[in-house]
Amino acid sequence: MYKFLLCVRYLKTRYIALACIVSVMLGVATMIVVNSVMAGFGNEMRDRIKGILADVVVESNSLDGVEDADYHMQLIRDAAADDIEAMTATVEVYGMLSFEYAGQWITRPITLIGIDPIGKSKVGPLVDYLVNTDAFPTVDGEIDGWALNSAARTHRERWKRHREWMQQQFRADATLQGVPQNTASDSQIVDSSPSNAVPPFADTPPFADAAVSSSPQADSQTQAIAENDPFADDPFAGTGPAVATADASQPLEGRLYLGVGLVSFPYEDGQTGEVKTNMMVQPGDDVRISTVTAGRPPAPAHFYATVVDVFKSGMSEYDSSLVFCNLEHLQKVRGMIDPTTQSKAITSIQIKLKDYSRADEVVAKLKALFPPGAYSVQTWEQKQGPLLAAVEVESAILNVLLFLIIAVAGFGILAIFYMIVVEKTRDIGILKALGASSRGVMSVFLSYGLALGIVGSGVGVIVGLLFVKYINTIETVITVLTGRPVFDERIYYFPEIPTQVNPWTVCWVAFGAMAIAVLASILPARRASRLHPVEALRYE
């Protein structure tokens, strides 16, 4: 009984013990906050990776692909029909994306993925990532993922009208002044580099952004028009010979979803300081894609395609490298359609499982089915192995480092306890004179340590959880106070800091802190228990 009483009294009267409690509390709170934020980030990231990839991917090792998607799908279905929820065939190939913005051509390296939007949606949440589309539009009673929405159509329409107007002006101007149209023909040569698969009208450059298009590149011939028309300084506008021959308001055969990072850049509003995204390409614009054919040897292939929408998965790696294309068009461009059998080749099959926990078994089954030389079968985790492993290692190292903080708190407790034991030497002598056993005296100090640990980690858990709960408010306050954003949306794609509290982590941290507090008090407690009563009593 005296143990508890003394313990509580020491806790109440030794203010130095508050230092122990605070250090334990800070350690625990920090660990909880950091772990929650790390888990939040990790989860968010996994969600996003998984959203773009699929549970399991069967890939051919060659970019040429393998023929007959249906046959492969049938093989897969035969092997693991019970586990598979959905499958879709895709073609993955490297390429380049070129588009015009502010009078210059911008080229980006991309990974081009030919998909069927409906099939892809069954495998992963594709439509959720599209920025301007909430659901695939229905055309003629059928869902068509590649149809332009009304905003994109309007954009295209307006652009077409503008181009026609430009054409007229240009012709009128040329005939009026009798100047040979060398500028036009020059650009025509540059621009209409024919692609074997693309109709000639496709070389219509995108009209990237009306507001920023007043580039100073206008040459002398268009200068006069520019005074009347803000769009007139685009030297390519209206120069395509195809405009007159085809209805430009109709989208091209090639359709794309672009990663948002490819065609946008963030900028800070000078007045409000808000971070905004400037789109260089709008849905409805045409862009140029360069890739390779599936021939032997591969030859370059180019085509123009209409941007249907941009997607934002939140994984910057994907958003700045992936371009989804309509599968059939890509197959056609790459020569993956056998001219005689009409059999279409594919490079990978994405599979969604009913139960992801069975992924390893499915992968094993499929690996047995497809020879490793020509195919690779991987879960999305294996595909993103290095990234996920890096995050895990990061998290583990961080935890070790943070636990050192609590260990430091432990040494603080050790030192402070030694002090308290020295201070209490006489009291220990009294207790022993009154019949307290060495073990009893030891347990006074051990339970004192435990009490410090419990109080410290209890308060730490509460503080940590509150911090996690209000982390975004706190972030805002800190941003306001320091004038520097702590959490920059330009770096992370999240509008706010993602957190996830794992109850086990919290328990583990709290118990770890308590254990450290008790461990730290063992040495002083042993010293206390070994004090000789007579010497302790004599101590002044």
Partner: protein
């Protein structure tokens, strides 16, 4: 108890005690074959100069320390070589200590200090179930030493005399058989010391408590039944209260 009051039973016996302390490399002998026997209900005072070993003798009798050579016997049974746990138990149940510097626990109030031997004796849950009974016991002894008005005061808020009376109440609440007092008046003025002595004398007379008191004040020592003088670790003189019929015991 009453029937044994004046029976010449050897309650406490110290036989050929030797004890030395180490100061650095030197071995400093403190007790050198000290022999003493104390009867039940006797009030013995041990006098001697500083360093004569009187406190050490008291500590050895009270099992706070163990002798190098010799035996301590309680009612004929050797107790100094018992296992630590039993010795702890004996300290709690048989011996009551009173110290020169009172030695109350500064974090606890008077009532809690008085209760502390009972808290040590009983496991927490048993103490909790009997806490009212214990409280009444403690109040009884606090009343006896006249400190009912100071129940919830911390030791720092008490005067020296009050603290010593609280220490006596603490010693008594454990219902000891032997009260070991180490200069109980050494830190008090004459008047207060006299009060304490009166308290001890009355306890000895009324409760037939065996009291062994160490003091260097001959006037205080006079109030005991018997005075034992220690010189350099040996009993030099034993003196009954009535006269000076002491005899010497030499070191073996």
């Amino acid at each position: 108890m009453n029937e044994t009051v004046r029976m010449p039973v050897n309650h406490i016996q110290a036989i050929a005690l030797e004890k030395s302390y180490h100061k650095g490399e030197h071995r400093v002998p403190v007790l050198c074959g000290t022999e003493i026997s104390i009867n039940k209900g006797e009030f013995v005072s041990i006098v001697g100069q500083s360093g004569s070993g009187k406190s050490t003798l008291l500590h050895l009798i009270g099992l706070l320390d163990s002798p190098d050579v010799g035996e301590v016997r309680l009612e004929g049974q050797r107790i100094d070589d018992l296992p630590t746990r039993v010795r702890d138990e004996l300290r709690n149940r048989v011996f009551g200590f009173i110290f020169q510097f009172y030695h109350l626990l500064p974090e606890l109030n008077l009532l809690e200090n008085v209760l502390s031997p009972l808290m040590i004796r009983h496991p927490a849950w048993r103490y909790w179930t009997r806490r009212n009974e214990f409280r009444d016991m403690a109040l009884h002894f606090i009343e006896k030493v006249g400190l009912m008005h100071r129940l919830h005061h911390k030791p720092s808020e008490l005067s020296g005399g009050e603290m010593q009376r609280a220490a006596i109440a603490r010693a008594l609440v454990a219902a000891p058989e032997v009260l070991l007092a180490d200069e109980p008046t050494g830190n008090l003025d004459a008047g207060t010391g006299e009060e304490i002595m009166e308290l001890l004398t009355s306890l000895n007379e009324q409760e037939a408590l065996t009291i062994i008191m160490v003091t260097h004040d001959p006037v205080i020592a006079q109030q005991a039944h018997r005075t034992v003088r220690l010189v350099e670790g040996r009993i030099e003189l034993q003196q009954e209260r009535s006269g000076a019929t002491g005899h010497e015991i030499s070191c073996a």
